[in-house]
């Protein structure tokens, strides 16, 4: 075929093939930004690949690199074109691997945000230009074709028809030579790898139709189908373009994570003696460096605040738009925005080991694992293509006896109509769209199977603290017993508890702060009178009176008044943590503290019950507290005072009984049970993210987002099934029709491209 002769010139390997560039890949300084050390003697690099067009490319790259000496791991991500390479330092060099890639025809660049941008932009431009060439060619060729379709016999003389055919030919040449290039390239790559991809029948169909039409144009006999051909190319390109856009927008919701880290940082080399910073590349930062982050700037790396008080906008991590307060000792995330005032930050983690990079890596790891359904469809499509090729050659041979003029057109119809493009696209596009959407809602999918399994789950198991509840104490009830006013009690509480750092003290302080009106009278506190007894309470003399805040026993020691023990026995039983306030002769008030429920917990549990799912509550806390939470939420199955191992066994028992279990936990204490469940969702919190083994991470901990994620997973599964059903049914139905010669090439073209467009568009509904 002409194409393969021409190809050598048109698509030379785009890789940096010259030796000097290759050697740069081995330079340690150059490597710092994209290579990390995995274990002893093993390095791992992130590369951005050029020229990855289909899933067959992934296979080719992975297989041929694995055969190189010293390479111990290759994973290519179709969504981001990112390759993760692991190799042993002693056996090979990165430049060898890159050289091998360029021989295969793929370019490799370090995976840096800037370059992703450029590569993406130029790829998008190429696609638009292809779409334009095919689209404009199609429109114009159709205009030339219309007279031939609508003319009555004898109305349209041969010389005009010849003129039209020649004009159509001139316009079809660029469509075939340029716009249809991806299909030829894809087919060629597939053949070289010994696989029949979905591009093979398409390329054969296009080539046959073009050659037969060209022959008819030159010899003035037979039919021409330039119009069908250009339309077919255009519609197919449109499908691929939409797929590209879907991948891009899914990538963009992640790329914003990686890209927000600034490229420059202000390093304080002589802190604290001098506050003069020098401007350095963020890539050169090392753990331990001190940085000055001015208000309005983004924080260049993960670290700890050494000095300064400011608020930091972490919306990129949590989706939470309210800035978080940071004081000395707080951890900050690289890429978050410093709002109020300057901070001095000590760098803890840089580059690839940072939190944002970890998130990005988790996500890519998920996208690189193809879920079982997609793999099955791929395998099936492979076999299918071979059968189509065999069936086509037999049918063509038979038709060559019946009607030699029609034989090539039958072949074209058959090839085009039966191409399993829709089948191959059905699952990946839907998953891409869904993953992108969930990432925008702060649910990061880290394992490929998570979405599919989540949709099938029958049982949802929740951890209590930090999952269904906020994980911090707050006052739920307060009762004033004595003669003092509520305001007076709160003012005393505020003054007293300000002296302590205990979580209960902080919760009471916050409560008093929120309930008291300002300005209020300052209470005179005798500082030297303070006594803090751990496990009991705190005592101080305020305005001349002795006050105690703490347990009942501690307070009752000084309170021997009319509100003595009689009341307190009645009130001493409570599912909550109860704190008392007492003065010399009386108990003044008590405050019930509880880890309060997340506001959207009830809605989530309600919707799960409505959908017929079972919910379970597992907790290490005492029975009373757990019962209270379960009662509030209407959960039936509870297990209190459970150790991590008991939690795991509980889930195991559910699974033995045939349940598919989703476990939602805080990701740190729940590791065994998270690993046991079919799908595990961890409530994300910065520092622990990198080690998480969960299948999905909910970055902001908002249960409402979990609820919508569950419904997204269900619609993803539904859409995948629709897509598979449609494309499978279409392929089966169309083969006999095409083989019997009942399909025109143009009908075949429309049928096939519309079915893959339909599949892509159906999947794109998930993005909304």
């Amino acid at each position: 075929m002409d194409y393969y002769r021409l190809r050598e010139k048109t698509s030379a390997p785009p890789a940096p093939a010259d030796r000097r560039t290759l050697e740069a890949y081995d330079d340690p300084l150059f490597q710092t930004s994209f290579v990390r050390r995995r274990e002893e003697g093993t390095l791992e690099a992130a590369l951005l690949l050029d020229g990855v067009r289909c899933t067959a490319c992934l296979w080719l790259i992975e297989e041929s690199l694995k055969r190189l000496d010293g390479v111990c791991g290759v994973q290519v991500n179709y969504v981001t074109r990112r390759a993760t390479l692991a190799w042993r330092e002693t056996d090979t060099k990165l430049s060898h691997i890159v050289a091998r890639l360029s021989v295969l025809g793929y370019g490799a660049h370090p995976y840096l945000p800037q370059q992703i941008d450029d590569a993406r932009r130029s790829e998008k431009r190429r696609w638009l230009w292809r779409l334009f060439v095919a689209g404009f060619g199609m429109m114009q060729v159709m205009m030339y074709a219309v007279p031939a379709y609508i003319a009555q016999p004898g109305e349209f003389s041969t010389e005009y028809e010849t003129l039209m055919r020649w004009a159509s030919f001139v316009l079809t040449v660029p469509v075939i030579a340029y716009a249809a290039q991806p299909f030829f390239l894809g087919a060629y790559r597939g053949l070289r790898a010994g696989r029949a991809g979905m591009d093979l029948p398409v390329a054969l169909g296009i080539a046959t139709a073009f050659l037969a039409s060209t022959w008819a144009t030159f010899t003035h006999q037979g039919e021409v189908y330039f119009d069908s051909l250009t339309m077919f190319v255009f519609l197919l390109l449109l499908g691929r373009y939409l797929e590209l856009r879907a991948r891009e927008s899914a990538g963009a919701s992640l790329a914003h994570l990686a890209r927000v880290t600034p490229s420059f940082a202000e390093r304080l080399s002589a802190f604290p003696s001098s506050r003069l910073g020098e401007r350095v590349l963020a890539a050169q930062l090392l753990p331990g460096d001190l940085l000055l982050v001015r208000p309005g700037e983004a924080i260049p790396a993960d670290g700890v605040v050494l000095e300064g008080i400011s608020t930091v906008d972490e919306a990129l991590l949590t989706g939470e738009s309210v800035p978080v307060q940071k004081i000395a000792g707080s951890a900050v995330v690289g890429g978050s925005q410093n709002v109020d005032s300057s901070l001095v930050v000590r760098v803890e983690r840089v580059g690839q080991s940072g939190i944002l990079a970890s998130i990005a890596r988790l996500v890519e790891q998920a996208a690189a694992q193809r879920p079982p359904l997609a793999e099955m469809a791929d395998r099936y499509a492979q076999h299918f293509v071979w059968w189509v090729l065999i069936a086509t050659s037999i049918t063509t041979a038979v038709w060559a006896f019946i009607d030699p003029i029609r034989a090539p057109w039958i072949a074209v119809s058959l090839l085009v109509a039966t191409c399993p493009c829709a089948l191959s696209l059905a699952t990946p596009v839907a998953l891409t769209a869904a993953t992108g959407r969930l990432a925008r809602q702060s649910l990061i999918i880290t394992k490929g199977h998570a979405l599919e399994t989540m949709a099938q789950a029958t049982d949802y198991v929740f951890d209590k603290t930090g999952t269904l509840t906020e994980g911090k104490l707050s006052v739920v009830t307060e009762k004033v017993l004595g003669t003092h006013t509520r305001e007076h009690c709160l003012a005393v509480i505020h003054t007293l508890e300000n002296l302590s750092e205990h979580p209960i003290a902080k919760a009471l302080c916050a409560h008093a702060n929120a309930s008291l009106r300002t300005p209020r009278r300052m209470m005179s506190l005798q500082t030297d009178s303070c006594r803090n007894i751990p496990g009991a309470g705190i005592q101080a003399i305020i305005d001349g009176c002795t006050y105690r805040v703490g347990t009942l026993a501690y307070c009752a020691e000084i309170a021997r008044g009319p509100f003595g023990l009689a009341i307190s026995t009645e009130l001493s039983v409570s599912p909550y943590t109860r704190v008392w306030l007492a003065t010399n002769d009386a108990l003044l008030a008590f405050y019930d503290l509880s880890d309060c429920m997340k506001p959207d917990a009830r809605a989530l549990i309600g919707s799960l019950h409505a959908a017929g799912k079972n919910t379970h509550l597992l907790s290490g806390d005492g029975v009373g507290v757990v019962m209270e939470v379960a009662r509030c939420l209407g959960m039936q199955n509870i297990r209190a005072t459970a150790t991590p191992e008991e939690k795991r066994l509980y889930v195991l028992a559910l699974q033995r009984a045939g349940a598919k279990v989703v476990m939602v936990g805080d990701g740190v204490n729940d590791a065994p049970v998270l690993a046991q469940a079919d799908v595990s969702i961890a409530m994300g919190s910065g520092a622990t993210l990198a080690q998480t083994r969960a299948d999905a991470v909910l970055l902001n901990g908002r249960l409402a987002d979990l609820q919508s994620a569950i419904s997204v997973s269900r619609s993803t599964r539904r859409i995948i099934h629709q897509n598979l059903f449609w494309s499978f049914g279409y392929n089966l139905a169309v083969i006999p029709l095409a083989a019997m010669g009942m399909l025109n090439p143009w009908i075949a073209g429309v049928g096939m491209s519309v079915s893959s467009l339909l599949v892509v568009l159906n999947a794109l509904r998930l993005r909304a």
Partner: protein
């Protein structure tokens, strides 16, 4: 109908001209962001350049 001998080649020339115009538009980056500009009108940043 002889006019077709002029019109058809003319249409071909026009197609190629339009192609060239589109190519320049593409090169100058007009199609790089197909979604962003739709939101621009909502942005409250009169005066400063983005």
């Amino acid at each position: 109908m002889d006019i077709l001998y002029l019109l058809i080649p003319l249409s071909l020339v026009l197609v190629f001209l339009i192609g060239v115009v589109f190519w320049f538009a593409l090169r100058s980056g007009q199609f790089d962001d197909l979604e962003g500009p739709a939101f621009k009108v909502l942005m409250d940043d009169d005066g400063k350049k983005r």
